[in-house]
Symmetry: C2
Subunit: 185 residues, 2 copies
Amino acid sequence: MKTLSYALLSLLARQDFSGYEIKQLMQAPIGFFWRARHSQIYPELARLEELGYVTHEVVEQQNVPDKKVYTLTAAGREQLRQWVSEPSEAAVIRDEFLLKTFSLWLADPAAAIAVVEDQARQHVEQLRVYEGIKQHIETEGAGEFMQPSSAYFASYITLMQGISYEQQYINWCRMIVEQLEALAD
Amino acid sequence: MKTLSYALLSLLARQDFSGYEIKQLMQAPIGFFWRARHSQIYPELARLEELGYVTHEVVEQQNVPDKKVYTLTAAGREQLRQWVSEPSEAAVIRDEFLLKTFSLWLADPAAAIAVVEDQARQHVEQLRVYEGIKQHIETEGAGEFMQPSSAYFASYITLMQGISYEQQYINWCRMIVEQLEALAD
DNA sequence: AGATTCTATGTCAATGGTGACATAGGTAAT
DNA sequence: ATTACCTATGTCACCATTGACATAGAATCT
């Protein structure tokens, strides 16, 4: 089973969703650490149904087209639980900007400062998004997000990594800008 | 031009290398933020040569097979310089372990602690590797790694991000373990 | 009236990346 | 002797992922 399958099961473990709804979630909460397009999601949901990990029923809607709402089966839940309990290889970083900093000595200092500041700006934006979601979890999942068996707890710690990562990235960018400004004189 | 091309040019901007040598570098220094197998590297070097960004000459060796040593051309260097000077989209995180923490509420606390500790261990190992390289740069590139136009400077700041990232990841793992241990009682 | 956007589901060609297969001479260990 | 590994370069089938194409009804804007 590939990782995408587990990304889908992870969402369905919390709530029933249609493919379209999952597509939208894969751009925001889960999409922060695993992305997928609808062209991957729809066939994968069909495959998970063949394997017996999910079922679906068609739900009619007013004014918008019908949707297929998927539900996790007991087998799917067990599959997910086992996967979560197994250790993972540490992820390989794949960051085009870090590749650029490796060749930053070739750029003239003004251009170098500009690209680093641009990158910092993007990570500041992302941090703001995460902090908005954090507020949301702390409010909606109050009294639950501290219990390890609660989905809010899992959302919370995952989000904390996102926040911590962005803060670290921003600090690093600022350090580079400072050094470039100081040393360019 | 794809990112892999620039990864190869980034290395050749510093020194001439054969495909085999690049293959080994793509598992260590550059490989920390952009990896590639030799099955990608060899055809890509050929393609870069067709485009006029690199040239090669065959170097005979004693006891081991001949090698093709690639050299960056002026056009290749200019292409790289331009790419470095352009802003990049912030990288999308793609971390299987973060996907697991999102479903960590399904695992029993003992299994949860085990997988987080395993992940921390891997990042501690990676941090040690980075710190060894840091020592190396500070020694070999002393008096150079503080100048923005030096390749040592670029290596240094890129490495600092690696170190900072690993420290942050380890701290986060430890925070989760603490919470799991405290709340499991 | 026409254009655009949103919901909703799907397919498919092309690209990027992995893992296996292939070759070949030298070294080192059992 | 045989196995295994290292240098060195290459190809190829497969899998994952992307981007474009496709359809279709309703709402909204110009």
